[in-house]
Amino acid sequence: MAASRPGWRFILRRRIAAGSTASDEAPRAAADAGPTAESGQADGQAGHIGQAPEAGRPGQTPEAGQPGQASRLAGVLRALARNAAQVSSRAVALLKHLRLRWRSSLQLRVVSTTLVISAIVISVLGFFLMQQIAANLLGQAAASARTQASDGLAFAQTEAGVTSQPDASAGTVMTNVLGSLTASDENSGDEYGVAVVLPPDPTQPRFPYAYSTNLPVGWLPKSMIERVGDDRTRPDFIYARLPYPAEGSPLTPGLLYGAPFGSAYQLYYFFPLTQLQQELLLVQRTLALVGLALVFLLAGIAWLLTRWVVVPVARAAQGAKLLSTGNLDERLSVHGNDEVAALATSFNEMAASLQEKMRQLEELSQVQRQFVSDVSHELRTPLTTIRMAADLLYEAREQLETSASRSAELLHSQLGRFEALLADLLEISRYDANAATLDAELVDVCDLVRYSADVAQQLAERRGARIEFMLPVEACVAEVDRRRVERILRNLLVNAVEHGEGRDVVVTSAADRDAVAVVVRDYGVGLAPGEEHLVFDRFWRADPARARTIGGTGLGLAIALEDARLHGGWLEAWGQPGRGSVFRLTLPRAVGSELAGSPLPLVPEQAELDMMAAQPLDPRTSPPEPSDRVTMVSRQERG
């Protein structure tokens, strides 16, 4: 008998399944549409006895055969589609932004997670609490209603005339019962409806059906009437919505009790639960408010507490960033003994250690620089004397006897080589000690190319080769160290002529918005695959047996590479054995900018390669053409 405990909204809005399966009662079925009925459906819409539910709403599609409307509709649809696309793209952008914020803030994550979890938990608890309260209140209401109904029933049983079979006086009997019941409970204060019902009996002529106060009997479910009639021992109740107190009133949820009494009569009580409903609504609102406040309070607390952790971490991150930019004095303040303090302490130790190491390295570098400088000076002064003396002897060599004369010649040339080597060594050591400085000014690189070709031109003339310049008309101005770039270009050009085997050397230059490039191409010995990296190594020679016409130091390209790197530029090589090589210098136009590409290609175009492949290799072993070309063997003296 104990009522089950569905949610209170269920109680007040729906019937128990048993009550609503009466499918022949169309109005009843319409009164409560299926489980998915929501309050959106106005209750007054549901039909009751005598009324059929209204037909479906009139269609909203435009009638066919109206082209103007159709095209307008198409336009509307298109606009809608556009709007939808706009909205969706904006939504996507917003989502991306949110994701980024989410990822980047620990506090945001903690606070929003706390918010969500506490909201869920509090909702669940609140719901559960609400359920309990509702069930409790409902139980109480049901209990008092049952008591009332039982009392009434007991009273009705004692009324005169009820035990006899219903006859023409049934109406009077029923009225009396009703009157007594309502009279006796007038001062109870509760509002309810009472009905005394005589279920229709097909064998009997039609007697008065029902008398009621505040209970529109037309709404009594037929299935209940039957059930109550069958079992005459106890009152039955259901939850129902009936118009209360009268036929035209709004549907009110309540408890409907029914019990048989007398011979064939039935007594119905209807207890509206409006007050209960209002109370529960109040409780619900209060709970919701409190829950919301609690959730935000928790979120606020979470935010405050995460600050304890997040702020020190953010400070440490900031400190690390400052440290990485070179600000080695950066330290964190240490408070207390906890993990955050441990973090700060370790950070400080790390920074101090870094600073010390840097200082040591700097000192070492300084020592090295000083050494280089001292060596430089110490070596150079005696070398000057030697040089001048050797020159003097060289000038006077005709006046010496043969071996002395020859010695003077050898002294002269080797001294030149020695000097060049010393200069290059000192230059390289300056790079190693990070002591090289860039002395940049605005220079027209294309002009500089021609200017640097002086020595190479002389060499080329002696070999019968030409240097061809393919330089753009407009100036290629860049911010470079003139002396260094000249050195690089001179080295590349001399190398090209020297390894060019008498063939022409082509120098190309070009500039784009960010960089300037110079390519020196020769068609001589070339490079084997893999050698294009080795060629920049210190003292590397392509062929150790090769004699050199100019006393190269072996450091030329290494220094050139360092010079290029000092500018933030590139120096690269490419070659094919026997078909020549390409050296490309790329320099950024502005000091400090990073190179992303080069205006000229390093590897020649495929068409050119194919053309060269078609020509036969010039074998190095074949005798050189007898000509004004100087062979490799003879020595050239520097004048």
């Binding site: 040089r387 001048m388 003097l392 027209d444 002086d454 101005v477």
Partner: protein, 225 residues
């Protein structure tokens, strides 16, 4: 040609070698081995050119140069083992006309010495004007609004070279050839520093020069605009 050369260097072997070379070319070298006595030696011997080593015991070569420059416009050529820009510029700014990096060839040294000693005797009186600066070429004097400005011979030559063709841009290489007499493979830093020195002396505002004007990426020219 006048030929007295004062050699200021503390390395005895090098000094002797320089002496041999200079005498071989017809110059008259005198020697002094430390900075403190350099000024005195200069006053005593009145050389036509000074070869000055930078690393000297006693007074530093830079200070010696300044001292001598304060007194006279005699050509000074620095001999130095340091080729870093900082050191070179310092030396040039203190008054030297040129510098040679050790080790050097005797030929190069002699050529530079001769270039410095060569003074073109231009008898034709010539007056040049740039802005409010007037130049008397034959008289080797420069005046701004009547007030004379004292320039070293090299600075004077530089100014005259520019002023002779006002508004023509001279590249550094061309200036090296015309003013210093070096054909090629000389350091253009020489020009930069001497232009700075010249500006410091004759410009109203050296930061915004209007007599010796820089043309970016090319060189220098004389004259405003």
């Amino acid at each position: 040609m006048k030929g007295r050369v004062l050699v200021v260097d503390d390395d005895a072997a090098l000094a002797e070698m320089l002496g041999i070379v200079l005498r071989g070319e017809g110059f008259e070298p005198t020697f002094v081995a430390d900075g403190d006595r350099a000024l005195e030696a200069f006053r005593d011997t009145k050389p036509d050119l000074i070869l000055l080593d930078l690393m000297l015991p006693g007074m530093d070569g830079i200070d010696v140069c300044r001292q001598i420059r304060a007194e006279s416009g005699v050509p000074i050529v620095m001999l130095t083992a340091k080729s870093d820009t900082v050191d070179v510029v310092l030396g040039l700014e203190s008054g030297a006309d040129d510098y040679i990096v050790k080790p050097f060839q005797a030929k190069v040294l002699i050529a530079r010495v001769r270039a410095r000693l060569r003074r073109t005797d231009d008898p034709a009186p010539e007056m040049l004007t740039i802005g409010d600066v007037s130049i008397d070429v034959a008289g080797h004097s420069v005046k701004r609004a009547g007030t004379p400005i004292s320039l070293t011979p090299l600075e004077f030559d530089l100014l005259v070279a520019l002023a002779r063709k006002p508004r023509q841009v001279f590249t550094r290489e061309v200036l090296l050839e015309q003013v210093w007499g070096y054909r090629h493979a000389a350091d253009t830093r020489l020009v930069n520093v001497h232009v700075q020195r010249l500006r410091a002396k004759i410009e109203r505002d050296p930061e915004r020069p209007d007599i010796v004007v820089t043309v970016r990426g090319v060189g220098y020219k004389a004259g405003p605009g």
